[in-house]
Amino acid sequence: MNRPVFGLLLGGFLGIFDGLTAWFTPAARAGLLGIVIGSTIKGIITGVCIGYFAKKVHSLGLGIMFGLAVGMFLAFLVALMQHGYYFEIMLPGSLLGAIVGFATQRYKAEAAA
């Protein structure tokens, strides 16, 4: 499995998980399915971008920073479409991006070992 594919799968999985956490917010429960789908798509796009970056750049620090930036940017776009909830959407989105950034860089290192 190459890094973009790994990023895609991990981003998608974390996107599902992140979307499901909306269940803890009663006001958002009604639109849970839409949130999960949107979060998954965002996770997949983020994962592919970060995975591609990890393929080109071999640096744990840069991988995490890039993941953070991509996660934040895509989450910002989602929040823009929602006309609000910037803090609630961008903060977890950024952190998940950083996690995917870390994982894709480490995945490369372990595959090479």
Binding site: T21, F24, T25, P26, A27, L60, I64, F87, E88, L91, P92, L95, L96, A98, I99, F102, A103, R106, A113
Partner: protein, 304 residues
């Protein structure tokens, strides 16, 4: 009659026993050290103007066994071309019949003294891995060192690591060697102490390397991880079947320890395993913890 002072007698003895290199391109500068079989001098190759080390047989043996042993050492050194083994330049005989060989002069610190200099654990392990590389190479060439110990390992000024004194090395597959106890007490494998030369193989050097690793690490002022202690105990097990089969296996075990993998010599508890994985993936643990903490905070902040 007045007797001569001790200092004068000592000097005369030195002059008499000092090797005579006249007629050779080498000139003596001074003595570096003495071993069981030979004396090592700092010399100068007058043709090239470079310093070198000259190892000279200490005694003129009647049966020629010591001379043959030293010539064998020179041949072994010549056959082992490796950055961790001092290259030999010349082999010859002095006018008094003593055999000598010339090799590269290496400046550095003996491993036992290096270990007392308080290097980091990572640096100690790096040095140990270099020793393993060299010994493993020698094994691949059919040579067993048989006298591995900190005093026979030198750490150079630029971090290079050299395995010295191949005087009692054994070439595997050679004709039967008479039973002899060669090596240093405390570092010799039990089968070596017993003089069972037919039982000597790579595992005998693994035993000595285990003891060397222990000597290298006991001077470490920090906490020595249990996993590392288990490695040297396995390597220097009295039962040679329980040791690492090869030096390469020992080196791989050290590498596993370095990257935070599970080592074969140590059965860890679940808590230790979790702790090791968390330490190994510290950044990931921090990121996940930050995510979860943020989710909890958001949960309470957005609670109606």
């Amino acid at each position: 009659m007045e007797s001569l002072p001790d200092a004068v007698i000592g000097h005369m003895r030195e002059v008499v026993t000092e090797p005579d290199f006249s007629g050779s391109p080498y000139r003596l500068i001074g003595e570096i050290g003495r071993g069981g079989m030979g004396v090592v001098y700092l010399g100068l190759d007058t043709r090239l103007g470079r310093r070198l080390a000259l190892k000279v047989l200490r005694i003129i043996d009647a049966d020629g066994q010591a001379a043959e042993r030293m010539a064998e050492e020179a041949r072994i050194l010549a056959s082992l071309e490796h950055p961790g083994i001092v290259p030999i330049h010349d082999l010859g005989t002095l006018p008094d019949g003593r055999i000598f060989y010339a090799m590269k002069f290496v400046e550095g610190t003996r491993l036992d003294r290096y270990a007392h200099g308080d290097p980091l654990l990572a640096d100690r392990l790096r040095v140990f891995l270099r020793i393993c590389e060299t010994v493993s190479f020698a094994h691949s060439q059919g040579v067993i060192h048989r006298d591995l110990k900190p005093a026979n390992i030198m750490v150079g000024q630029f971090g290079e690591v050299l395995v010295l004194d191949w005087g009692v090395a054994k070439v595997t597959g050679k004709a039967h060697e008479p039973s002899l106890t060669a090596g240093t007490p405390g570092y010799m494998a039990p089968e070596q102490v017993a003089g069972a030369t037919d039982q000597l193989d790579a595992r005998s050097d693994v035993y000595s390397l285990g003891k060397t690793l222990e000597a290298l690490l006991v001077t470490y002022t920090g906490q020595i991880p249990k996993r590392l202690q288990a490695i040297w105990k396995k390597a220097s097990s009295a039962d040679r079947g329980a040791r690492y089969a090869t030096v390469l296996d020992l080196a791989r075990e050290i590498e596993r320890f370095q990257i935070g993998d599970r080592v074969l010599a140590y059965r860890e508890t679940i808590g230790e395993r979790v702790g090791r994985l968390a330490t190994r993936n510290r950044t990931l643990v921090l990121l996940v913890a930050a995510y979860l903490a943020m989710r909890i905070v958001l949960f309470f902040l957005t609670k109606p």
